[in-house]
Amino acid sequence: MDSIWFKLLGVVVSFIVAFTVGMTYMGLSRKITARVQNRKGPPFYQNFIDAMKLGSKTSAIHHGVMQHFGPAFLMVSSVMSLMIIPVLNNGMWFSNLNFHGDLIFLLYIMVFGPLGMALGAGQTGNPNSAIGVTRGLSQMVGFEIPWVMALVALMIQYHTTSIVDLMNIQVESGTWLIFSSPFAFIAAVLAMLGMFRYSPFDIVGAPTELASGPMSENGGKYLFTMMSSASVFAFAKLTLYVDLFLGGASNLIELLIKTFVIYMIPVLYGVVSPRYRTEQSIRYFWGWPTFFGLLAILYAVFF
């Protein structure tokens, strides 16, 4: 069981699962957006087609070595997050590396990718890329605050920083953390809106304003790598939310249901929202979400 090959298999399988699920979810979000806008919308597998098309582009350009590294950094971050986050409740399947790191490590691994991507975007020399990166980083500072507050609240409430421990606590006590620490959940979910960069927080890669920002010089295989990384990352984040607040999942079906429910929050919020400017979104995150984060910490300290 502990053999390295088994582990590697687990990594590959979880990657494939994450990729598939993430892609499907993103396709579904497009479909849902279309339905909300009274359109028929693309089929739910449209994202696979797009990815395939991008992968089958026969030429590509790059502006230097950092542009090669950028998508790779992004992918490293996504896959590492996936490996640190326990996918299922029992440690046997897809346990990957999740006994080797904790929540704070995860936080840093999660920002690793965007920063690497930012470097890649920087080397293209396209001013739009740099502008998009500055907006993205600024917005990240915004949503990290409630997000960290929620996590810290969980940590002090249960005296552990390990995700696995938090899941075990939920399994043992039978209550999900969404009920035992509701404010942390609210803060975390509000922060998640920014993390997914859907509307209204999509100024980073606004297509008409910034020509898609950081991605503006990337096409073909670079875009393909980014897209698949984004889907893996989305799945990883959703799994993390499920693990932290919804008691994890004991099998894949349960996981899919729970992640889909969580995923609907930013998607549905997004389709009915206009777009915030950067400083507006930062102020948004430092308003109510941070307040709930504070409440969560107080709740954790006093109860």
Partner: protein, 181 residues
């Protein structure tokens, strides 16, 4: 890696299928044609169900949609944009201005025949073409892609000298980077 002819065929089929159903459009909104794009994309006609979607930059785009007359000044930019796109790439000429000059047939500053300068895969005629026409144009392009006939980029590559000559005739001050793929 895959040298076998039949397997190449299968790969081509799959790739063309993907390309056919995922058309990212860079709309070069010159002239009055640009106004026909929003209805095409939004809920009334919803081009997204065909996999047609806007692309923000030429690097990401598959199709260059030229929606009207091109002055010599804009032609330069259009050529630039086209050359920045990644293979495989297609051009759709939109409206009679791109076909024969349309109402600008005697303008001192507007080109009349687009396919002398860029390899147009599909022309959509009309002044202006309605969204239905646009959609049928896309459908035609999809058909061509599926058949592997939409090889404008290859044509451009093969006849680059001829295209360059035509382009340089009306753009004497040629300062663009080399097009070498």
């Amino acid at each position: 890696m895959i040298n076998d002819k039949n397997s190449q065929k299968i790969v081509d089929f799959i790739q063309n299928w993907a390309r056919k159903h995922s058309i990212w459009v860079l709309a070069y909104g010159t002239g009055c044609g640009a106004i026909e794009i929003p209805p095409t994309m939004t809920s009334r006609y919803d081009a997204e169900r065909l996999g047609v979607r806007g692309a923000a930059t030429p690097r990401q785009a598959d199709v260059l949609l030229i929606t009207g007359y091109l002055t010599t000044k804009t032609l330069k930019r259009v050529i630039r944009v086209y050359e920045q796109m990644q293979d495989p790439k297609y051009v759709i000429g939109f409206g009679s201005c791109t076909i024969n000059g349309g109402m600008y047939y005697d303008s001192y500053n507007t080109i009349k025949v687009l396919d002398k300068y860029l390899p147009v895969d599909v022309y959509i005629n009309g002044c202006m073409p309605r969204p239905e026409a646009v959609l049928s144009g896309f459908a035609k392009l999809q058909e061509l892609i599926a058949q592997g006939k939409a090889n404008g980029a290859q044509k451009y590559k093969d006849n680059l000298d001829w295209y360059r000559e035509n382009q340089k005739k009306i753009i004497p001050n040629w300062v663009m980077p080399e097009y070498n793929w």
